[in-house]
């Protein structure tokens, strides 16, 4: 941690701003991802992420602008189209949900890669930079870009903070919420749209291939440490923030390393640590309490024993 802090302190101004913006993205992705994971929408987010490349490429092709905002709006549009396609396939064909998701994911990704490769080989201006959306490359971000990403992230977190009651009710039991008069289906759409937005602003940091990790891993880490929703949101936000920050700093120290893989590796380090040592759910903690080899108090042993087997299998 101290090394990381020292490394941050000696970074140039632009890198600092970028690091702050990307850290905000990581935090928001963790918070919104928590609801995505609880509502079992992780794969939808992954399909949306892979579909962003098409929109990013089309945005450059149609407008000729390399402005990040323009490219990301393009990415968001194609992510939305992918989600609509996913819903239509599920509704009008007999394709199973997981297969439908896999189809949309691979087809849209294939299309995106084809578009980008074609543009690069024809030497279309700016197309060379599109590769950074594949695996993430924060070194090429400007302070203005970072401000945009940070602002969107803050708005995303605010949406969750303001609508916490509604989001929780619908995520836990949509039928009960709907029977009580809440527009559960619409709120579900809002949640999916928020996930799509987070996936898009996460593109520069993690890239289309890996950005899902930013939405999925921090909540998984957080769930290891708590049984309550608000702490889970806070921990997921913190883990997302630190992973993104760590990824930016570490990848800027190592020349020619894309940011995405480093972000994912940092997040994974948190996950492995949590799976091992988190109280109640952690593997080490459970073996200790079950075998009774150490001096764990009786109450703790009881809690450990009461943990259903289902949870163990989920690990």
């Amino acid at each position: 941690m101290i090394h990381l802090a020292v490394a941050i302190a000696f970074l140039p101004y632009n890198t600092l701003v970028v690091a702050a913006g990307v850290a905000a993205v990581g935090c928001a992705a963790g918070v919104i991802g928590t609801f995505g994971v609880l509502r079992k929408r992780a794969l939808v987010g992954d399909a949306a992420a892979h579909a962003t490349l098409v929109g990013v490429a089309c945005a450059l092709l149609l407008t000729g602008q390399r402005d990040l905002a323009v490219l990301l709006v393009g990415g968001l549009l194609s992510a939305m189209v992918a989600i609509v396609l996913l819903v239509l396939i599920r509704k009008f064909t007999r394709t199973r949900d997981d297969a439908a998701t896999a189809i949309v994911l691979s087809v849209s990704f294939g299309l995106g890669i084809t578009l980008i490769s074609g543009m690069v080989s024809r030497g279309i201006p700016g197309s060379g930079g599109l590769e950074r959306f594949l695996l993430g490359h924060t070194a090429s971000l400007t302070a203005t870009d970072a401000l945009l990403l940070g602002t969107v992230s803050v708005v995303g977190v605010l949406c969750i903070v303001v609508g916490l009651k509604e989001a929780t009710m619908v995520a836990f039991d949509p039928d009960f919420a709907a029977a009580a008069g809440w527009p559960a289906a619409t709120l579900d759409l809002v949640l999916i749209a928020l996930i799509a937005v987070m996936v898009v602003v996460g593109l520069p940091a993690a890239g289309a291939v890996l950005v899902t990790a930013l939405v999925v891993i921090p909540p998984a880490v957080a769930r290891q440490w708590t049984e309550r929703l608000v702490p889970m949101l806070v921990i997921a936000g913190a883990v997302g923030l630190l992973s993104a920050l760590g990824g930016v700093v570490l990848s800027s120290l190592a020349v020619q390393v894309p940011t995405g893989p480093v972000v994912v590796l940092v997040a994974t380090a948190f996950l492995i640590l949590s799976i091992l040592v988190a109280p109640c759910r952690g593997i080490l903690w459970r073996t200790r309490s079950v075998s009774g080899l150490s001096s764990v108090s009786l109450t703790k042993t009881e809690v450990g024993a009461a943990t259903p087997r289902v949870m163990e299998r989920k690990l």
Partner: protein
């Protein structure tokens, strides 16, 4: 509560709940066909029928959770949208993820805060209401426990407490006895009977004919169509049960027992 009283006075001529020609289809397969009956007064009402008979769908269609292909549902002669605050729904237990990171108290509080407007979190009143509801179902000691660390019967009572926190007039419960041991079942039935005694209408989807004959004031036998509806003793006749469960040999014994037992019940 003033609103409830005035609603009762104004709509005294209307039954509490009525279904007219209700038809629901999943794709092309009809699940409910021309279901038509009404419940006039507060009572403990059972919806009985074999698996896949459309019992749960009947509740969901009444609450606009599934689309109706035809027919109408009226509460005190009014549309659902006008009376939602007086209705509480208890979904089937397995429809939610019990590993969800919420405590027992959190879930019950959702019942209280579901009555508030957008973005209102609720305060002392909602907390007290949730606490009282939890007390009512005998789970006050489990308030801070994560919901996955409860038995089936306890989970079902958490759902019931969440519905109680809505302070409703009509309760619609989907299989409240599924996966519940005999002791908890008695406890839940007692709470439901208590609600009935307070003038509430309690409707429960139920699959066990034996306990149905014992507890429900009135029942509807459903097998896609409505076979019969009315006072329990009049409806649970051998003829009606055979009609409802025709061709389902595995439970003929159960029917025989139930009829015997139903005959003894005054």
């Amino acid at each position: 509560m003033a609103g409830n009283n005035s609603a009762r006075e104004v709509h005294v001529a209307h039954p509490m709940l009525e279904w007219h020609d209700l038809t629901v289809a999943y794709g092309r397969r009809p699940v409910l066909w021309n279901v038509d009956f009404e419940i006039q007064d507060p009572c403990l009402f059972g919806i009985i029928g074999p698996n896949g008979a459309g019992k749960s769908t009947l509740l969901k269609a009444s609450l606009d959770l599934v689309r109706r292909a035809g027919g109408t549902v009226r509460f005190w002669g009014q549309q659902l949208a006008e009376v939602r605050s007086k209705i509480a729904y208890v979904p089937q237990r397995e429809t939610v993820d019990w590993d969800f990171p919420v405590s027992v108290m959190d879930v019950v509080r959702m019942g209280a805060t579901s009555r508030l407007g957008w973005f209102q979190r609720g305060g002392k009143r909602e907390r007290e209401l949730a606490r009282a509801s939890l007390d009512h179902v005998g789970l006050a000691d489990f308030a801070n426990r994560q919901i996955g660390k409860l038995s089936g019967g306890q989970q079902q009572r958490v759902f019931l407490a969440r519905a109680l926190a809505r302070e409703a007039e009509i309760y619609l419960l989907d299989e409240p006895m599924a996966g519940v041991d005999a002791g908890s079942q008695e406890q839940i039935f007692n709470i439901l009977a208590e609600l009935r005694d307070q003038g509430k209408l309690v409707i429960a989807v139920h699959h066990d004919i034996r306990t149905a004959a014992e507890w429900f004031d009135a029942v509807a036998l459903v097998d896609m169509r409505l076979v019969a509806a009315g006072p329990t003793a009049e409806v649970l006749t051998p003829e009606n049960l055979t009609m409802t469960y025709s061709g389902r040999l595995s439970i003929l014994d159960e029917i025989g027992e139930a009829v015997e037992r139903g005959g003894r019940t005054p």
